[in-house]
């Protein structure tokens, strides 16, 4: 705030006239109020962040060091890092859930990136009906995940769903889809791909629109074919956009909960087949009321997400360097 600084300096340099004490005091108060204005403007945001982000984080961390059970406000005892030890030693639920979280994220994000990039390249040059195609493309993004989950649950119902009727009509045997322990996670990854590929396409289209045309034209003159132009010219230039899109999508995919819960319910299915860390932590909280253990899993999950983001950013940074 340069204006405040100027006024402040001027005020400090000038000695208030003893003949007009009231005016001098008023000016000083005004200047001081002006100086505090930045704090007044910042306070709501600081309080909001403190209440909505810092407090829950600190509270979760504190809860993770206790044996809180039944009710959050019930008496609990500090137990140090035992909840973390229990979670990290749990090969029945925690580690399989961590593995599924990773498989779901990597599988879905890789497919979304490849398909999103392919669609973005196809839609790069203007064509007839482009606006219509782009509108259709964002429809899955607008629907709520729970509605999408229920929609796909009905479509993929092994007995009454339309998907099996269509498969049978073309001679493909009926599938169990979400009713099968083995097919559930891949099916939900494909549903995620169906919903989020358009977002990748739109992000990459925006990135492609900012690229200069000259390098590609030069490559064309040098005799590079379409693949070579894409691989050695477009892709390296698109790197920063691609890295940002990957980080955004990966963090979102790691946190996926609604679609998994809406289709498979508590515990991620009968054999815990789609139970990710998010679903596991929810179950510990709302089905088992083990608040201390749930908080420890959430702290570990947060560290896991931070680790993935750091890894992706480092790799992205190294490639772009």
């Amino acid at each position: 705030m340069p204006a405040t600084r100027t006024t402040g300096t001027a005020g400090a340099a000038r000695t208030p006239s003893p003949a007009r004490p009231a005016t001098g005091r008023r000016r000083r108060t005004f200047e001081q109020a002006n100086r505090r204005l930045k704090w007044a403007m910042l306070t709501p945001a600081v309080v909001f962040v403190g209440l909505m982000i810092v407090f829950p984080l600190v509270f979760t961390l504190d809860l993770s060091l206790t044996d809180a059970f039944g009710a959050v406000n019930a008496d609990s005892s500090p137990i140090g890092l035992r909840n973390f030890g229990d979670a990290l030693g749990d090969t029945r639920r925690f580690w399989p859930a961590a593995r599924r979280t990773l498989v779901f994220t990597v599988g879905a994000v890789v497919l979304e990136t490849v398909l999103g990039l392919a669609l973005a390249m196809l839609m790069r040059k203007p064509f007839t009906g482009m606006r219509w195609v782009r509108t259709v493309l964002i429809i899955p993004l607008l629907a709520t995940p729970v509605a999408i989950g229920i929609l796909w649950l009905l479509i993929l119902d092994p007995t009454n769903g339309i998907a099996n009727h269509l498969l049978e009509a073309v001679g493909v045997p009926r599938q169990e889809f979400l009713g099968s322990v083995g097919q559930s996670l891949p099916t939900l990854m494909l549903v995620d791909v169906w919903q989020w590929t358009p977002m990748m396409t739109l992000l990459l289209l925006a990135g492609l629109a900012t690229l200069p045309e000259e390098p590609e034209e030069a490559a064309l003159v040098d005799g590079a074919n379409a693949w070579q132009r894409f691989r050695y010219v477009v892709l390296p230039m698109l790197g920063p956009t691609l890295a940002t899109a990957l980080v955004l999508r990966a963090v979102d995919a790691l946190k996926t909960f609604d679609i998994l819960y809406a289709t498979k319910g508590a515990g991620g299915g009968s054999d815990f087949e789609v139970e990710t860390l998010n679903v596991y932590a929810y179950g510990l909280t709302f089905d088992y009321q083990e608040y201390g253990s749930a908080a420890a899993v959430l702290v570990l999950f947060t560290l896991f997400i931070i680790g993935v983001v750091v890894l992706l950013r480092r790799r992205g940074g190294r490639k772009n360097a």
């Binding site: 108060t29 039944g70 319910g265 179950g283 709302f286």
Partner: protein, 435 residues
């Protein structure tokens, strides 16, 4: 007045802002301790069930009686449980009457001190507490205190296709006959299945309980895990064989919502589930078996026919409510003898003995179903899941061998593993109870 004109220091300003924000938050969080105004509604949270819908239609009558507005929120069972967890963990006063599952939530809610003690209130002679059936009444008591009043009861019914079962000589009376009949009627290539039922790890446990009791087992025997007993193992193997051999694909993802439409669409010959859902098969909008559906009592197993007979939904009062007297008035009205009789006449099975002995109230049910309900209630066991604090975790453990059986895997090793896990769990659960 030099003090008043002195500007606030940065630290003092920060402290003031934090105090103001803190005071704001505290005043927003605290519901206040005084009695709410006459305009404040009595808040009722209930399951979206035919019982709640029928009561909601009549609620104006109650509002006129107490001179206060009533606000009823109807949710699914999962939403209801989640809402209670959030509200009561914050000692919320924004719910007065709570519809709870006595066998699922009551022990934990009682342990947390979230449900008001109704022992003195139910002693009111006009309320006729003794009129409630024994099993639901016993389930309402936790640690010697009455914490809820049952309003809807439930037993398993055997739904069957009359047109198909005729050639088998009528509905099966034993579990062995059910298995045989289901196998005989299964035509997988045509998409028709002999039996459909719940197969989800946790969701199937309550319906499987009748199979368990009829094989002579129970979840807990003498305070220890009973799921590793030969009787329980036989019940696991039976249920797994039934669904694996005669059930539809994807059975392990099936709860009531998935299994019921398969029977209603005419794609299964037998279905065992709650008798309270019978109206779905008589509704021409959703059922293709309206003319052909039959109702029978739960078949007998090696230990006889022992179906569950439970209070599926009860009413309790939030311990933090500031309208506890009005909340009790609501329970007195909604669970009273007159309302129970009126609702049972609409086909909603109640918990009072008097309504079951009144032929008028039974006329709402198809005669075959009324008879099946009466027989099942007589033979009924008062619980359909382990009676522990952490019912959710217990169901997850107990349900694992069921899933293995339905998937066609060997049940015995999974039973051994689940039995050991359940034994450990019971020790921990008891420790929580004592804490």
């Amino acid at each position: 007045m030099s003090t008043s004109s002195r500007p606030l220091s940065r630290r003092a300003f920060g402290r003031l802002a934090a105090s103001a924000a803190g005071a704001g938050v505290l005043s927003a969080c605290s519901g206040g301790s005084g009695r709410p105004s006459a305009d404040a509604p009595l808040r009722i949270m209930a399951i979206n069930h035919v019982w709640s819908q029928a009561v909601e239609r009549r609620v104006t009558e109650f509002e006129e009686r107490i001179g206060r507005r009533v606000s009823m929120t109807l949710l699914t069972a999962d939403q209801l449980a989640g809402s209670y967890n959030v509200k009561l963990n914050a000692s919320g006063t924004d719910v007065d009457v709570m519809m709870v599952r006595a066998l699922q939530e009551q022990l934990l809610f009682g342990h947390n001190g979230w449900l008001a003690d109704l022992s003195d209130r139910v002693a009111d002679q006009q309320f006729a507490w003794d009129d409630f059936q024994d099993a639901p009444r016993e389930a309402s008591v936790t640690a010697g205190k009455v914490l809820s009043v049952p309003v809807v009861t439930e037993r398993p019914a055997l739904y069957y296709r009359k047109d198909l079962v005729e050639e088998l000589g009528g509905p099966p009376r034993t579990l062995a006959a059910l298995m045989e009949g289901a196998r005989e009627l299964t035509r997988r290539k045509e998409g028709f299945y002999g039996y459909v039922g719940r197969g989800q790890r946790s969701g199937a446990v309550s319906q499987w309980s009748s199979f368990l009791y009829s094989h002579g087992g129970d979840f807990v025997v003498d305070g220890k895990s009973g799921i590793g007993s030969p009787e329980a193992t036989a019940a696991y193997e039976y249920y797994g064989r039934l669904l694996a051999g005669s059930g539809p694909p994807g059975a392990t993802n099936m709860s009531l919502e998935q299994a019921m439409p398969i029977f209603a669409q005419g794609k299964a010959a037998f279905f065992v589930d709650a008798d309270a859902v019978y109206s779905n098969f008589l509704d021409p909008k959703v059922s293709r078996v309206r003319e052909t559906v039959g109702f029978a009592p739960f078949p007998a197993g090696p230990a006889g026919a022992k179906p569950h007979n439970i209070p599926s939904w009860s009413l309790g009062i939030n311990a933090f409510s500031r309208l506890r007297d009005e909340a009790w008035e609501f329970i007195r009205w909604a669970a009273g003898p007159e309302m129970s009789a009126a609702l049972q006449q609409e086909g909603i099975p109640g918990a009072r003995s008097s309504v079951w002995s009144d032929p008028k109230t039974l006329s709402a049910f198809p005669p075959e179903l009324a008879e099946a309900m009466r027989i099942n209630a007589e033979r009924g066991v008062g619980h359909d899941r382990p009676r522990v604090l952490q019912v959710g975790r217990a169901r997850d453990i107990v349900g694992r061998p069921l899933v293995a059986g339905i998937l066609g895997q060997s049940v015995r090793p999974v039973v051994r593993d689940a039995d050991a896990e359940f034994a450990d769990f019971l020790v921990r659960d008891n420790r929580h109870k004592e804490s």
